[in-house]
């Protein structure tokens, strides 16, 4: 149901209309109910009082008649003493004239003053006749209330009613004292049966569950619909029997109210069933009794309940009828809205031509439709605009992307850049802040021994910066090719850039030339961050000789060359401020210290590993903050070339174990055949690849022929020992002879540019060995020459 109400405006409107109508109906019903109830209860009270009044009147009439009869007799007796016979006659005549009297007595007082010839005479009706007799036990009779009370009270008394089991009826006695000179000389009584009171009360129109009670002045029930309670229970004993103390108290109080001698009514809770009921009570003044008429509230209000039921049914029917027009109105309102909803759905799906509901009125729905239509038009226009803008943006983005590609292509980014030069371990990175950046780096081997390095930062970012960067980089590189002096090259570039520099853009630049043979670095700085040089020992130097101005700022500015020497394993770190000024979200910079820390921790790594971890460190520091500047760095680790340092560095392979094969040769050229056979045999035994075998053969032949030919000054026989180790693809060979000392690695490299005839003998052999083997070392040990050669992994040999 709730679901239905949530889903449909029509249902919700109908429900609201019904709810409103229902509430109004309920209000009307409620007010009418309260008013009618009030009036009905007031009527019932009025009616109850009237009934009680009339009932009391009907009870009092016969009692009053009996009172007057007895009082007349008493008056008569007060005047004169009468004999037994006269008394009997008087009783008989009185009973004959007053058929409502059941019996009558004249009792003379026992006191000595009384001179009568009888004590107590009693006449009563029996079987249609009247009998008058002397009482048999007057002494007991004198103790009875009918004599005792008037005798002492000296006034007429209605004695407490009682049930006479002989007469089989409830009876009440009226007793009047006969006073003579203030003394009670006799008492006259009459008896009344009370059956007529039952009949009278039973006939009262009290409805189905109403009832009438008659209480004696002591609260005893004289008449009660439950006859068993009569003469036994009192209003108070029934109250006492209640288990609920409050109910008991209330009933007790009700009894007191009823016997208070005042008429009234009271709403009370009935025992047994807890119904509320009205008790209308009224005293019977002559006797001191109290009449009570009990009318249950439910009975009084029964017509109201019926009325309410009819009202509720009519209301319900009315609401159901109201439902039909309510639904009609709700549907008519909701229909165009539903159409609009459908159109909106189609619009959302991209259909701008969905039909809108027709305008039939100028109400809110119509205004909504117009607004919807307007929105559709605007949307259509907006989408067209958006399409155009997007196309333009895409084009620009494409161009930017191309620019970035070009920029990235300008800087060399093939690593390792010089795979055949193990002394150069170089790596560089450029991470632009925007699509294209203004940073640059560059390096190139100017010749075999000279490595050109540069790093720079163009003022500004984006396309203009990158253009200037391309110009600056290209210019510097081309000038450096010919000038080979950093300061002069920078000065020339500055001249070029300073001209017509209307945009006032500039480049900071550091550049240098590293002599690979000697490790000498000549450099100049144009306003760039001084690079760091990390010595193998761990010491860090800052190349911070005073820099010149940035390029493009001051025409005619001069720059100075500085120099330093790189030793084996030293690491040169060039960087831009994109690294040191990288900020995190709290604007804390990575700083030079961050860089120095990183150099200390990671400086022993290869160039590539070093930069990769540096990039990671900068990213970690930024912690998600947007990159504000290009991040650019170039590092190079210098290694002294092998030819220069033979013996000073550890062989790549260090076999501690005995050789896998050993060959001893004599210093005769004829032994060379044995060498060839031995190598072939080892090739098979050690499963050496064919090209390696050929290389080994050539190298050993070259060297051993050399030893046999030139090592010995005497003609005696000498032994040359060849040892061979093999580990996977790597092969190490040692050749030991006891000839004159000769360090082949100390020989200058062969000048291959000379014509063959001018070349130094032996020089080419050594050159060949160097070319072929990865490692070539010499040592003199206990008067013997030991040559160590290593061929690794079948790679291209050094040099």
């Amino acid at each position: 149901m709730i679901n239905l109400l949530n889903r449909s405006l029509a249902y919700r409107m109908s429900a609201l209309i019904l709810l409103g109508a229902g509430l109004v109906l309920l209000l009307v019903q409620g007010v009418s109910h309260i008013e009618q109830r009030r009036r009905m209860l007031a009527d019932a009270v009025q009616q109850g009082n009237t009934l009680a009044e009339s009932a009391v009147f009907q009870i009092e009439v016969p009692l009053g008649r009996a009172e007057s009869v007895v009082q007349q007799t008493a008056v008569f007796l007060a005047e004169k003493e009468i004999s037994r016979a006269e008394s009997a006659g008087l009783i008989r005549r009185t009973l004959e004239r007053n058929p409502n009297l059941l019996g009558m007595a004249i009792a003379l007082n026992e006191s000595p003053a009384s001179q009568g010839d009888f004590k107590i005479l009693y006449g009563w009706r029996t079987g249609g006749t009247i009998q008058v007799r002397d009482r048999e036990a007057p002494a007991l009779d004198y103790q009875q209330d009918w004599f005792y009370l008037p005798n002492y009270l000296k006034r007429p008394v209605w004695v407490e009613p009682y049930y006479d089991s002989d007469a089989k009826t409830s009876m009440v006695t009226y007793a009047v004292p006969v006073l003579r000179a203030g003394e009670v000389v006799a008492v006259v009584t009459c008896d009344l049966a009370l059956e007529w009171i039952h009949q009278l009360l039973d006939a009262l129109p009290l409805g189905e569950s109403g009832m009438a009670l008659l209480l004696s002045h002591r609260g005893t029930y004289i008449s009660h619909p439950v006859r068993a309670l009569e003469m036994t229970e009192t209003g108070f004993s029934l109250a006492e029997a209640q288990a609920d103390p409050e109910m008991s108290r209330n009933l007790y109080q009700l009894g007191l109210d009823m016997l208070s001698g005042q008429p009234g009514y009271k709403l009370f809770k009935r025992p047994f069933g807890d119904q509320m009921a009205y008790m209308h009570y009224r005293p019977v003044p002559a006797t001191g009794w109290a009449l009570g008429l009990m009318l249950p509230q439910a009975q009084v209000l029964e017509p109201l309940v019926r009325l309410n039921r009819i009202g509720a049914l009519l209301g319900l029917a009315g609401l159901l009828l109201l439902l039909i027009p309510a639904l009609g109105i709700a549907w008519s309102v909701a229909r165009p809205l539903r159409h609009l909803a459908v159109a909106a759905h189609r619009l959302a799906a991209g259909d701008f031509d969905a039909r809108l509901p027709e305008l039939r009125s100028r109400d809110e729905v119509a205004r909504l439709t117009v607004a919807f239509d307007q929105m559709r038009h605007n949307l259509r226009r907006y989408i067209a605009d958006l399409t155009a803008t997007t196309a333009a943006k895409e084009r620009i983005a494409g161009e930017l992307s191309a620019a970035r590609e070009i920029q990235m292509r300008i800087v060399p980014k093939l690593f390792p850049p010089f795979p055949h030069r193990p002394e150069i371990d170089l790596y560089a990175m450029l991470i632009p802040a925007r699509e294209v950046g203004g940073d640059l780096y560059d390096f190139v081997l100017l010749d075999e021994d000279h490595l050109y390095l540069a790093i720079g930062d163009v003022s500004g970012k984006g396309v203009p910066a990158s253009l200037l960067m391309a110009v600056g980089k290209t210019m510097l590189k081309s000038i450096m090719q010919s000038v080979r002096a950093p300061a002069r090259a920078l000065a020339q570039v500055n001249e070029e850039l300073s001209e017509d520099n209307e945009l006032c853009m500039f480049i900071t630049m550091f550049c240098g030339i590293l002599n690979l043979k000697t490790g000498d670095l000549i450099y100049a700085n144009a306003g760039h961050n001084p690079p760091f040089l990390t010595r193998r020992s761990g010491a860090i130097e800052r190349l911070d000789q005073p820099p010149g101005p940035a390029l493009g700022v001051i025409p005619g500015a001069s720059y100075h060359d500085c120099s330093t020497r790189l030793n084996d394993g030293d690491l040169l770190v060039l960087y831009t401020d994109g690294i040191t000024e990288a900020m995190n979200s709290t604007n804390l910079m990575f700083d030079e210290n961050g860089l120095l820390d990183h150099i200390r921790c990671e400086g022993h790594q290869s160039a590539r590993r070093f930069l990769e971890s540096l990039e990671q460190a900068v990213h970690t520091h930024a912690a998600g903050a947007e990159q504000s500047d290009d991040i650019t760095a170039l590092v190079v680790r210098y290694r002294v070339p092998l030819a220069v340092t033979a013996g000073s560095i550890q062989p790549v392979l260090d076999f501690e174990r005995p050789p896998d094969a050993t060959l001893r040769l004599h210093n005769r050229l004829a032994e060379m055949n044995r060498l060839t056979v031995w190598i072939d045999a080892q090739g098979i035994a050690l499963q050496l690849p064919e090209p390696l075998l050929i290389s080994l053969n050539l190298v050993l032949e070259e060297w051993i022929v050399n030893v046999i030919s030139y090592a010995y000054v005497d003609k005696s026989e000498h032994v040359i020992e060849v040892r061979l180790w093999r580990d996977q693809d790597d092969v190490k060979i040692e050749v030991e002879d006891d000839g004159k000392p000769f360090d082949p690695t100390a020989q200058a490299a062969a000048d291959t540019t000379l014509a063959l005839e001018h070349r130094q003998i032996g020089g080419l052999g050594i050159h060949f060995i160097r070319k072929t083997m990865n490692y070539f070392a010499y040592r003199r040990d206990q008067g013997r020459n030991i040559i160590t050669m290593v061929k690794t992994n079948g790679e291209q040999a050094v040099c």
């Binding site: 059941l102 019996g103 007595a105 009693y122 009563w124 029996t126 007799r133 002397d134 009482r135 048999e136 036990a137 002494a139 007991l140 009779d141 103790q143 009875q144 209330d145 009918w146 005792y148 009370l149 002492y152 009270l153 008394v157 004695v159 407490e160 009613p161 009682y162 049930y163 006479d164 089991s165 002989d166 007469a167 009876m171 006695t173 009584t189 008896d191 002045h217 002591r218 609260g219 005893t220 003469m231 036994t232 229970e233 009192t234 209003g235 108070f236 004993s237 006492e240 029997a241 007790y252 009894g255 007191l256 016997l259």
Partner: protein, 350 residues
């Protein structure tokens, strides 16, 4: 007034105590009928005996009803008939004539009868605490409000006659109060009609009847005779000396079973009330159940000692006897009184 010429019993009468000593001579016929009823159907065994009650059936005699209903008498080999009392029945007379074996009597009545020469013996003391009250209007229609006993000086009040009168006379004499005493018969009518400022009442009976007629405790000032020093034990079981001498075992058995009956009633209130109401209904008495409930509670409280009470259940102490005799001698014209020994058997409380 009853259409019956002699008012033997009237349903309209309240079951009030009534001294009816003057009517014994007029009741020969009635007594004869009772005698037939009592002795006519008696079987040889078990031994038939009868007990005359003080008054019409009510909770005052609950112990005997329960002894009968629960077979306690039968267990002792006794076939007991309970004879109702009333204004027309006098237990002392039935004992004297030998038509009753046992009777329930007031201690003061029994002592007076014994003093007059009737050879009664006391078998058991049932009610040890006095239930006598004097109930006075706090604010009478005439005269000053009643707050203390002395306020009754010169005021009209009603007091029972004969053997129920002695405690009140003792009360007035001992407290030096001189009211105008009017007779009080079976019904308590003059006081509610405000024809007297006070009336005599039993705590277990008349006092509650007044409550049930709409008089509230706040309306009246209640003087307890017991609390004012008039401590007279009340209901006891009596027999003629001959019976006691000739059939002591029977007497002992009867007393034993009767006391057991009281103990049973003490332990089973609801069941006892049901039994009482059977007797009430059988005699068509105008008595309601709540009144019997009240009466049972109060009578039991005066039979079974509460902690702090000085008496023993079923027993008459020499002290209580002496106190009663002193009160009677001083205030009720009892000149010769029986000695404790000989009057009170030492077999009680069995």
């Amino acid at each position: 007034m009853s259409v019956r010429l002699s008012p033997r019993r009237r349903a309209g009468d309240r079951p009030l105590r009534c001294a009816a000593g003057t009517m014994s001579r007029t009741l020969v016929l009635s007594i004869g009928l009772i005698w037939l009823a009592v002795s006519g159907g008696a079987a040889q065994s078990p031994e038939s005996v009868n007990l005359v009650l003080h008054w019409q059936h009510q909770s005052q005699f609950a112990g005997y009803y329960m002894a009968l209903a629960k077979g306690l008498y039968a267990r002792e080999g006794l076939d007991v008939r309970l004879v109702r009392g009333g204004p027309d029945v006098r237990g002392v007379e039935l004992l004297r004539s030998g038509k009753a074996d046992f009777a329930s009597l007031m201690l003061s009545s029994a002592m007076e009868e014994r003093a007059r020469g009737l050879p009664l013996v006391h078998l058991a003391q049932i009610v040890n605490r006095s239930n006598f009250l004097l109930v006075a209007w706090r604010n009478p229609s005439q005269g000053p409000p009643i707050r203390e006993l002395a306020d009754l000086n010169g005021q009209k009040l009603t007091v029972w006659l004969e053997d129920f009168r002695a405690p009140y006379l003792a009360l007035f004499a001992s407290h030096g109060v001189r009211p105008v005493i009017l007779p009080q018969y079976c019904t308590l009518s003059l006081f509610p009609q405000r024809g007297a400022v006070a009336c005599s009442a039993m705590r277990y009976n008349e006092y509650h009847v007044l409550m049930q007629s709409g008089i509230q405790a706040a309306d009246v000032r209640v003087f307890s005779l017991h609390e004012l020093g008039i401590r007279m034990p009340e209901d006891g079981l009596y027999a003629m000396q001959d019976v006691w001498k000739q059939r002591p075992d029977t007497c002992r058995k009867f007393v034993r079973a009767s006391l057991q009956g009281w103990r049973y009633a003490h332990a089973h209130h609801d069941e006892t009330i049901d039994e009482v109401m059977k007797y009430v209904r059988k005699d068509n008495l105008p008595v309601n159940r709540m009144h019997m409930v009240w009466m049972l509670r109060e009578i039991l409280a005066s039979i079974f000692p509460a902690p702090g009470d000085s008496w023993t259940f079923g027993r008459l102490s020499r002290d209580a006897y002496a106190e009663t005799r002193a009160l009677l001698t001083r205030h009720s014209g009892l000149h010769t009184s029986p000695e404790f020994d000989g009057f009170v058997t030492d077999e009680e409380g069995l």
